[in-house]
């Protein structure tokens, strides 16, 4: 009896908090028919926003993947001064407000920032342009590959790497042939998490982008802009596109977890 009550409470909580609201938005996005939905997601602004979101992810995710693997190797395999500091700084983006992240970037790369004035005079605009949005996205999605790869590296140990080095492999060969194959599922899981975070980032990008429709507006910014302009169908339609990406993420996570196990 108690078991069923607990099950019912847990599922009811998830239903009221997650399932019903998301279902309702999907329902409302199609309330005016499929044609209205298609029209809303194929406006020039919406298409540009989708393209920009994908472009930013295409830069930020590979950058964080390469960094994540190097950083995990440094944390697990090396002892160096400041080891503890690196370990904590990596987690910071998880706990920091995205608005604070945006502001911090503006204070360095904005017109009145440390390097911003010089960069703008050299013809390179960071804030209110693509580079700033990429930096903000890299910042917020930085920890995931590191956090997924570190425990895998700890678990596999370094005997095989040592053996490969003894047999005369260069460290580059050892990395490609021994280390990377052993950590591949951890890396893949981290990449999925990084991609989800990159596609969905809102606060930090909102601060650094200037939110110019058709120019510096990502998909999430487009959702807000449509909503504030009382175009509810447009906002819901763009939300459905982002929700589909989220569901794809969940599928990938589930498949990878099965593969790892």
């Amino acid at each position: 009896m108690a078991r069923y009550a607990l099950r019912l409470a847990a599922l009811g909580y998830l239903g009221a908090l997650l399932v019903v609201p998301v279902g309702l938005v999907v329902h409302r996005a199609f309330a005016d028919g499929v044609d209205a939905f298609v029209a809303a997601v194929t406006t020039p602004e919406a298409l540009h926003a989708l393209w920009l979101t994908v472009l930013i992810a295409l830069i930020a995710v590979p950058a964080n993947t390469v960094f994540g693997i190097f950083c995990a190797l440094a944390i697990v395999r090396r002892r160096f001064p400041g080891h503890g500091l690196v370990n904590s700084v990596v987690d910071l983006p998880l706990a920091l407000s995205p608005v604070v992240v945006g502001l911090a970037l503006v204070l360095v790369y904005g017109r009145n920032g440390w390097w911003g004035g010089w960069l703008i005079d050299s013809g390179f605009q960071v804030i209110y342009a693509l580079p700033g949005m990429v930096l903000a996205t890299i910042f917020v999605s930085l920890p995931f590959v590191v956090r997924e790869v570190v425990p895998v590296l700890r678990e596999i140990g370094d005997e095989q790497e040592e053996a490969s080095a003894t047999l005369g492999a260069s460290s580059w060969q050892t990395f490609w042939r021994v280390t990377l194959p052993a950590i591949r599922w951890g890396v893949a899981y981290g990449v999925v998490l990084t991609t989800a975070r990159a596609l969905g980032e809102f606060g930090a990008v909102s601060v650094v982008s200037g939110r110019i429709a058709g120019r510096t507006e990502t998909m999430t910014l487009h959702v807000e802009e449509r909503f504030q302009s009382f175009d509810v169908t447009g906002a819901y339609a763009a939300s459905v596109v982002l929700s589909l990406l989220a569901v794809a993420t969940l599928l990938a996570m589930t498949l990878l977890r099965r593969e790892e196990a």
Binding site: L14, L18, L24, L92, V100, L105, F202, F227, S239, S243
Partner: protein, 273 residues
């Protein structure tokens, strides 16, 4: 002791490679994370300590910070209970579709926060089909934060519960303990470090949350404006000192929570051994 084989690599080459990966790691972290945060801290005190204090004691800022901390505290208390219960159902119960429910737990993580806010507004806002309208109230804030922080406690408690030895519970029950006593005396002490660190992660996340609250909370100063929304408003109205000062308060809180989680983890591993 390191195996003899490591001698096989010339020491100089080893050092060079080590310094390359270290150089990349620290360089990347500095440019992306540390330099901007240093700029933030320096900017907040640029006009002197008095200006910093003025900025963080501004009544609107104080109200926003107070609301943020109180709501986050309420949210994580609910999370501690609901998250543990959900983890329990996912590990100990069995029913059809459990793997779907398990995958759904990560939805708040995968779904962009602005979409989360919009979906909650659709069901619990002015056009609610069930007649529940909490938009632009503190309840709406709580709802949005419960949504985005849902995975934290579930995902930290779940693995511990999976590993937990059932023998102890059976021993307690065969010695005459009721199931409530067994939970309180045997299961709960084992889960406590995980609940605590999941709760702390959720708390840190709540303190800084922006996307999911911005549409549903109404952002009324002194009533439903949280710290991140306040900072955003100050940036928009060009009060950079005010924005930076409140940001530094949030940054300090995040750091404190992270250090606290580290301490809990060290304490938990010591008690394991």
């Amino acid at each position: 002791m390191r195996p003899l084989t490591s001698v096989a690599l010339p020491a100089a080459r080893r050092r060079r490679e080590a310094s390359l990966s270290l150089g990349i790691t620290t360089g990347y972290l500095s440019v992306i994370v540390l330099v901007p945060l240093a700029a933030l801290v320096l900017r907040s005190t640029e006009d002197g300590a008095a200006a910093f204090l003025d900025a963080v004691t501004d009544p609107q800022a104080v109200a926003a910070l107070k609301l943020t901390f109180l709501v986050s505290l309420a949210v994580v208390l609910v999370n501690a209970v609901a998250g543990t219960a959900i983890a329990w159902v996912l590990v100990r119960d069995s029913f059809r579709g459990k793997s779907v429910v398990n995958a759904l737990i990560d939805l708040p993580f995968a779904l962009p926060t602005i979409v989360a806010g919009l979906t909650l507004l659709a069901l619990y806002g002015p056009r609610s089909p069930i007649g529940v309208n909490v938009a632009y109230t503190t309840a709406a804030l709580v709802l949005a934060l419960l949504f985005v922080t849902l995975p934290f406690v579930v995902r930290t408690v779940q693995p511990v519960l999976l590993e937990l030895d059932r023998d102890m519970e059976e021993a307690a029950q065969s010695l005459g303990a009721t199931s409530l006593q067994t939970f309180r005396r045997v299961v709960f002490p084992n889960l406590f470090p995980a609940i605590l660190s999941g709760t702390a992660l959720g708390f840190a996340r709540s303190l800084g949350e922006f996307g999911s609250v911005v549409l549903i909370s109404g952002n009324q100063p002194f009533r439903t404006e949280v710290a991140s929304v306040y900072i955003f408003g100050q940036i928009e109205s060009d009060n950079v000192t005010g924005a930076a000062a409140v940001s530094v308060v949030l940054l300090a809180a995040s750091l404190a929570v992270l250090l606290g989680i580290g301490a809990v983890r060290r304490w938990a591993t010591r008690h394991d051994g």
